[in-house]
C-alpha cells in the first residue's frame, strides 16, 4: 500500500492502538493534520502545548496506556520540554510527535527550527530524528515499545516536514520486530536473590515495605497486597504510589517523606529491614541521607538497575519487573512457611500503633469568621465523591493535603507530578485522565498559583464537553513557598502573595465552565454535590481557604527525618 509520510504517521499511531492524541497544529506538522480528518483517532485541540503533554501524562496514569501528544516544531517543541521531563521523572509512558523543518533546512536557523532532539535528550527516555520516510513505521513502532516497556518513559519522534508532504511516499509495511539492538530491559529477578530476600524478610523484626510508583507502573498492587497480608508487614506508600496499597487496610501506614505522617516516617527510621519495591530513595523521602533509616538493611527491587545502589546501598538488589519479582518473593516466602515463618513482631506492631494513636494527622478546628480549613475541604470532597474518584493534584500545599487527607483505596486514583513538581500539572492532567476514563469522576485539587499556569485548558475541556471538576484551595498565596518563608525566613514574605485576583468563578464561566465560590464551611458540601451533578462541562470551585495554614508534619529541608515537626498541637514542652 502506497502512503505518504503523513498518512504513515497516522496509520502507525492507529496500529499502536492510539485512540486519542492531544495537540496543536502548526507549519511543520501541518501535513500530518490533513489526513487526521479521515482518521479514527480523536484529536483534542489544546490551548498551549504544555497542556497537551500533561494531558497525555494524565491519560497514561489513568489508563496504563501511553499518552500521545502531537505538536509542531520550534516553540511548540520547546513548550513540550516541561511535560516530557515531568513524565521522564515519574516514569510515565508517553509518545510525542513533533514537526521539524524540512531536512535540507535543518541547521540553517530556519523559521521555527529548534534542535528538538538535542533539547529533549535529557528529558526523554529516547528520541528520534527521522531522516528517511521509509523509517516512519519502524521508528513509531519502536518509540511505543520504548515508552511502555522496561522503566516506562516519554519518547519523542521529530519528523521533518519534507517527509510528511504528499510527495514523500513509501510502501507501507507493518513492522514485525524492533530495531533496538542495545535495548534489553531485565524483567525477571534473579531467583537466588529473591530466595535470599525471602529469608531476610522472615528474619526481620522491624520490617517495612517501602512501596513506590513502580508498583503502579508494573501493575503490582495485587501481589503487593498478598505479600503484606501473608507476612503482616506494614506498608508505606510514597507520593507516587498513593492508592497502590489501600489506605483503609490495617497494614497501611500511608505516605512517608517530607510531609509524610509521623508513623510512616518513623517506621522507616526505626526499621531493621526496608523492602523497597519500585521506589528510589528520593531525597523527599529520605531527608538527610546520612541519618536516614540508620539500622535498616535494604532489599531493593527496581526495573532500572541504575536505581539499585544509586542512593542507598542495597544488601539484596534485585533488578526486574516489580510484579514478577513480588510474585516470586511471595512464592519463596510461602515455601519457607509463609505467615508461619514470620517472627513474633508484636513489639513492632505495638510501637507502630502507639505512634498512630499519638500522632495522627491533625489540624486545628475551624474558627468562626476564618477562611476555610483546606484540610477540611479535602475531607469533605473525599466524603462526598465516589470511592473510585480520580484525584489529580497540582504542586504545593494543596497537593500535600490532598495526598494526606484523601483515602486512596484503589490503584490509579491518584495522579500528581512527583519528581519534577510541576506547577500547572493538575488541570491538563485531570482532563487527560477524564478523557481516558470517561465514566469515572475526576476531581483536581489545585492551588490558586498552579491554576493560573494552565487553566486555559478549561476552554479545551469545555469545548470537548469533558466534565472535570477543579477544586481550587485558594489561599491567595504561593502557599508552600510562603510556609518556608514563615518557618525558615523569619516571616519575610518575599513575592508569595497572589492577592485575590483573578475572580476564578468569573474566569471559569468565561471559559464555558460552571463556576462556584465557597467562603463558608456550611456551603462546602452542598457545592460539592452541585459540582458532582454537572456532567457536560467542567466545573471550577473556588474554595477560599486560610492564608497561613501550614502542612504538617514536615521535615525541614536537609534535616534528618527523626527531626520531623508534627502539628503544633502535638508538640511537647
Amino acid at each position: 500500500m502506497q502512503l505518504n509520510g503523513a498518512q504513515a504517521v497516522l496509520k502507525a499511531l492507529e496500529h499502536e492502538g492510539v485512540d486519542t492524541v492531544f495537540g496543536m497544529p502548526g507549519g511543520a506538522i501541518l501535513p500530518v493534520y490533513d489526513p487526521l480528518i479521515e482518521s479514527s483517532i480523536r484529536h483534542i485541540l489544546v490551548r498551549h502545548e504544555q497542556g497537551a503533554g500533561h494531558m497525555a501524562s494524565g491519560y497514561a496514569h489513568a489508563t496504563g496506556r501511553p499518552g500521545v501528544a502531537v505538536v509542531t516544531s520550534g516553540p511548540a517543541a520547546t513548550n513540550m520540554v516541561t511535560p516530557l521531563l515531568d513524565a521522564y521523572m515519574d516514569s510515565i509512558p508517553m509518545v510525542c510527535i513533533t514537526g521539524q523543518v524540512a531536512l535540507p533546512a535543518i541547521g540553517t536557523d530556519a523559521f521555527q527550527e529548534a534542535d528538538t532532539t538535542g533539547i529533549t535528550m535529557s528529558a526523554t527516555k529516547h528520541n528520534y530524528l527521522v531522516t528517511d520516510v521509509n523509517d516512519i513505521p519502524q521508528i513509531i513502532h519502536d518509540a511505543f515499545h520504548l515508552a511502555t516497556t522496561g522503566r516506562p518513559g516519554p519518547v519523542l519522534v521529530d519528523i521533518p516536514k519534507d517527509l510528511v508532504l504528499p510527495s514523500a511516499e513509501l510502501e507501507w509495511y507493518t513492522p514485525t520486530g524492533h530495531d533496538l539492538p542495545g535495548y534489553n530491559p531485565v524483567m525477571d529477578g534473579d531467583p537466588a536473590a529473591i530466595a535470599q530476600a525471602a529469608r531476610m524478610i522472615c528474619e526481620a523484626e522491624r520490617p517495612v515495605i517501602y512501596s513506590g510508583g513502580g508498583i503502579l507502573r508494573s501493575r503490582a498492587a495485587e501481589v503487593l497486597l498478598e505479600l503484606a497480608e501473608m507476612t503482616g508487614i506494614p506498608v508505606v506508600t510514597t507520593l507516587m504510589n498513593r492508592g497502590g496499597f489501600p489506605d483503609d487496610h490495617e497494614l497501611c501506614l500511608g505516605m512517608p517523606g517530607m510531609h509524610g505522617n509521623y508513623t510512616a516516617v518513623m517506621a522507616m527510621q526505626e526499621a531493621d529491614l526496608l523492602i523497597a519495591l519500585g521506589s528510589r530513595f528520593d531525597d523527599r523521602v529520605t531527608g538527610d541521607r546520612g541519618s536516614f533509616a540508620p539500622d535498616a538493611k535494604v532489599i531493593h527491587v527496581d526495573i532500572d538497575p541504575a536505581e539499585l545502589g544509586k542512593v542507598r546501598h542495597a544488601h539484596v538488589p534485585i533488578a526486574g519487573d516489580a510484579k514478577s519479582i513480588i510474585a516470586g518473593l511471595n512464592g519463596a516466602i510461602r515455601s519457607l512457611g509463609g505467615a508461619e515463618a514470620q517472627p513474633d513482631r508484636t513489639a513492632w506492631r505495638t510501637t507502630l500503633s502507639g505512634w498512630q494513636e499519638k500522632y495522627p494527622l491533625t489540624y486545628e478546628e475551624h474558627q468562626p469568621g476564618e477562611r476555610l480549613k483546606p484540610q477540611a475541604v479535602v475531607e469533605q470532597l473525599r466524603d462526598n465523591t465516589p470511592d473510585d474518584t480520580i484525584v489529580v493534584a497540582g504542586v504545593g500545599q494543596h497537593q500535600m493535603w490532598a495526598s494526606q487527607y484523601w483515602k486512596f483505596n484503589h490503584p490509579y486514583t491518584w495522579i500528581n507530578s512527583g519528581g519534577l513538581g510541576t506547577m500547572g500539572y493538575a488541570v491538563p492532567a485531570a482532563i487527560g485522565a477524564q478523557v481516558g476514563q470517561p465514566d469515572r469522576m475526576v476531581w483536581a485539587v489545585d492551588g490558586d498559583g498552579c491554576f493560573q499556569m494552565t487553566c486555559q485548558e478549561l476552554t479545551t475541556a469545555a469545548l470537548e464537553k469533558i466534565p472535570v471538576k477543579i477544586a481550587i484551595l485558594n489561599n491567595s498565596y504561593l502557599g508552600m513557598v510562603r510556609q518556608w518563608q514563615e518557618l525558615f525566613y523569619d516571616e519575610r514574605y518575599s513575592e508569595t502573595h497572589l492577592d485575590t485576583l483573578p475572580d476564578f468563578k468569573m474566569m471559569a464561566e468565561s471559559m464555558g465552565c460552571v463556576g462556584f465560590r465557597v467562603d463558608s464551611p456550611e456551603e462546602v458540601e452542598a457545592t460539592i454535590q452541585k459540582a458532582n451533578e454537572v456532567d457536560d462541562r467542567p466545573v471550577v470551585v473556588d474554595f477560599r481557604t486560610l492564608e497561613d495554614e501550614k502542612v504538617y508534619p514536615m521535615v525541614p529541608a536537609g534535616a534528618s527525618n527523626s527531626e520531623l515537626l508534627v502539628d503544633p498541637s502535638q508538640r511537647e514542652g
Binding site: G118, M121, S122
Partner: protein, 172 residues
C-alpha cells in the same frame, strides 16, 4: 596531559550503534550526571553498524557502577566493558610541536625521538613536529622530557585499549 592528583581513572569500552547523535547522548549523560571524562576516543568498528568508544573516566566522586549502569540505559549502547589496567593493552598517540631553535636542542630532541621510537613529522626553521604512539605512561614521559625545550602545541588522542590475550592454552 598526565593525570591530575586525586583521580581514580577507569577505562571503559562502550560498543554503540553508529548513528548520528550517539556521542552527544554519551557526552550529555556524563555532564548531566556529573561524571568526569578524562579522555574519549571514538571510531567505527570492523562492523560499520557499530562504533567503539573508549572512555577514561574519573570515578573519584562517583561510583564506576553508576557510570556503567547509566550508560547501559542509553538505548544506543550495546555493550560496556570495564578494562582493568593490569590486564589490558593500552595505546595512545601524541603529536607535538616543540621549539628547536638551536642546533643543540634540535640534536637532543632527535635523540629523544630515537629513544622513544617516535617520528619527526615536519621540520620548521625553529621548531620540530614529532609524534609518538605508545602507552599513556610512556607518552607522559616523552611529554615531560620535551617540556624543557618548550612545547609550542600538542595534541593527544586519548587512549584506546583492548583486553590482554590469554597466554596459556586452558585446554592444554
Amino acid at each position: 596531559m598526565s593525570a591530575p592528583e586525586n583521580c581514580d581513572l577507569h577505562t571503559i569500552v562502550v560498543l554503540v550503534e553508529n548513528k548520528s547523535g550517539v556521542l552527544a547522548r554519551i557526552a550529555g549523560l556524563f555532564s548531566r550526571r556529573g561524571f568526569n571524562i578524562e579522555s574519549l576516543a571514538v571510531a567505527p568498528t570492523d562492523d560499520e553498524r557499530f562504533s567503539r568508544i573508549t572512555i577514561v573516566v574519573d570515578v573519584s566522586s562517583t561510583s564506576i557502577d553508576q557510570v556503567v549502569k547509566q550508560l547501559d540505559k542509553l538505548v544506543n549502547v550495546l555493550e560496556i566493558r570495564e578494562l582493568d589496567p593490569a590486564t589490558s593493552v593500552e595505546r595512545e598517540l601524541l603529536m607535538v610541536t616543540v621549539a628547536a631553535a638551536t642546533p643543540e636542542s634540535r640534536r637532543e630532541i632527535i635523540d629523544l625521538v630515537q629513544i622513544f621510537d617516535a617520528q619527526v613529522l615536519n621540520v620548521g626553521f625553529k621548531e620540530l613536529m614529532v609524534s609518538v604512539a605508545g602507552s599513556p605512561r610512556r607518552l607522559d614521559d616523552f611529554e615531560a622530557l620535551l617540556g624543557r625545550y618548550g612545547i609550542v602545541e600538542m595534541q593527544r588522542t586519548g587512549k584506546i585499549a583492548l583486553s590482554e590475550l590469554v597466554k596459556v592454552d586452558p585446554t592444554a
